[in-house]
Amino acid sequence: MERLLNNRNVLGWLFLLPAAALLLIFLTYPLGLGVWLGFTDTKVGRGGTWIGWDNFAYLVGDSVAQLSLFNTLFYTTAASILKFGLGLWLALLLNEHVPFKSLLRAIVLLPFIVPTALSALAFWWLYDAQFSVLSWTLTKLGWIHQYIDFLGDPWNARWSTVAANVWRGVPFIAICLLAGLQTIPPSLHEAAALDGATGWQCFRYVTLPLLTPIIAVVMTFSVLFTFTDFQLIYVLTRGGPLNSTHLMATLSFQRAIPGGALGEGAALATLMIPFLLSAILFSYFGLQRRTWQQGGKD
């Protein structure tokens, strides 16, 4: 018995057992079950039968599902670009020598740690059609003459949700990139400056290449979680107005849980998987750590 427990294979798998059991039952199995459900006509409270590609064929022709795909792609692209740009800028600013540096960093991360559903409520109030303080301020400044209907008009609503997502996501990206910036040896910048590089050249040819690996990881996470975002939309618009902010995740919830069509919802969720996989593969093969970035030959 004791010999057996000191065998690394036996003990290894024994130690792994609790984590593996939980993950297999509640992660791997549902992942497979979700794909299988997508091929059935399961409803809430009623088991389904295999109907092949019917759900997928229906969804491909469904104008709301098509719109949700467009919205998801727009939301992900717009929010990711903005989050990356602003996040990198904020990271560079936080890397400067400023007073109250550590306090600043702690404050900056607040939007990320607070429950998204609750901060989204604050945005809902900020975007209120009648009492929005944003509209109030702009009116007092004389920039607009009537209150903006932030969530009532399709394109306003799309940009408003993107703005709320960017607000929440920038701190995460900034703090992660800041951690990356601090690993870059300052001597490289000094050497570049001695060689006459301008500030922009220093950034473009020294900072950015060294930061690429961490940018790749951080942006992969950001794209994955923006693409599958749910709570922000659920709280702010529930997909409206006219389905113009429905993401694939919110639409699959809507169809599956209140709508009861578990099979159709699961099919919609399964349709997200190819996009997620391609994002992961893109960052893995396109942006992964190169040997020269670790000091080796290319």
């Binding site: 290894g12 549902p30 607040l110 998204t116 609750l118 599958t228």
Partner: protein
């Protein structure tokens, strides 16, 4: 890291002060104002009387006659305290279960190096990338079949699916930094693997445990889609779901109590975060950097 951080400023004296004000301080102040404004707005709304909330006159950025009426309504006329308690229970139990499972798994993968440990490590990382919004429908079916629908156990058992991959990945990094020699000494002295783990590795990995624990706790506190799908009775909802689904009544929005709920519901994570900022950041960036 400390030295590098101090050194990286060595060239900033090359910039003149007015230039730094424009390129560094002004943008930084704008960032901070934008990032904090929703919280300020949440807080002022929670303390404003209804009349002030719905008037377009006067300065909306200040509370002229602060009131605790919204908090009173929230705490005594809604199930908000119960939601707080539920979230606390679920988050604590899920965090501790996940940490225990993750410590064992990370130690096995990183130190026991059983055959296949590399593949398992990779699988754990991939599990980290599976978003809850593609899992909630099949999980709802499973939870229903297990008879756990509308119970706290539904959440306690499903939260580890996103906590364990993250915590294991983070702890693997911490264990890697502990020298092998310590373990070898203990092995020679006749310690069992279990003794090594509990007496040597764990005490050395306390910072890692705190990081993983804090992060896991906030993740469970903030979780939304599972709690929304698996729970339907008001008295066992979690704070984010309860505030969003129950405090919004019809067309008349009670902004005051809604914002009071958002504020109080965010407070526990904000307080924990403020005590453990360094650990939290280490946890967040550590998991990404590996």
């Amino acid at each position: 890291m400390k030295v590098a951080a101090a050194d990286s400023q060595s060239m900033s004296y090359l910039q003149s002060l007015p230039r730094r004000v424009v390129t560094v301080y002004v943008p930084l102040v704008v960032f901070v104002i934008v990032l904090l404004f929703p919280f300020y707005w949440m807080a002022t709304t929670a303390f404003k009387p209804d009349a002030e909330l719905l008037s377009r006159e006067g300065n909306p950025f200040w509370v002229h006659a602060p009131t605790l009426a919204h908090f009173h309504k929230l705490l005594f006329e809604t199930p908000f305290p119960e939601w707080m308690l539920n979230t606390m229970i679920v988050a604590f139990v899920a965090t501790f279960t996940s940490l225990a499972a993750s410590v064992l798994a990370a130690y096995a993968i990183e130190r026991l190096r059983f055959s296949g440990s590399r593949q398992v490590g990779l699988a754990i990382f991939l599990a980290y990338l599976v978003p809850p919004s593609i899992l909630f429908i099949p999980l709802a079916a499973i939870v229903f079949k297990l008879g756990l629908f509308d119970t706290r156990f539904a959440l306690i058992l499903t939260y580890p699916t996103f906590l364990i991959p993250f915590a294991t990945w983070l702890l693997m990094g911490y264990f890697r930094s502990i020298p092998y020699e310590l373990e070898e000494c203990a092995l020679i002295d006749g310690a069992s693997r279990w003794q090594i783990l509990t007496r040597i590795i764990l005490p050395l990995a306390v910072p890692g445990l705190i990081s993983a624990g804090i992060f896991a706790f906030t993740l469970s506190w903030n979780e939304f889609i599972y709690a929304l799908t698996f729970i339907s009775s008001s008295e066992i909802k979690t704070v984010p779901v309860g505030v969003v689904t129950e405090l919004v009544e019809g067309d008349v929005y009670h902004w005051g109590s809604l914002m009071a709920g958002a504020l109080l519901g965010s407070l526990p994570v904000a307080v924990i975060y403020s005590f453990f900022v360094e650990y939290y950041v280490a946890g967040m960036t550590g998991a990404v950097k590996e």
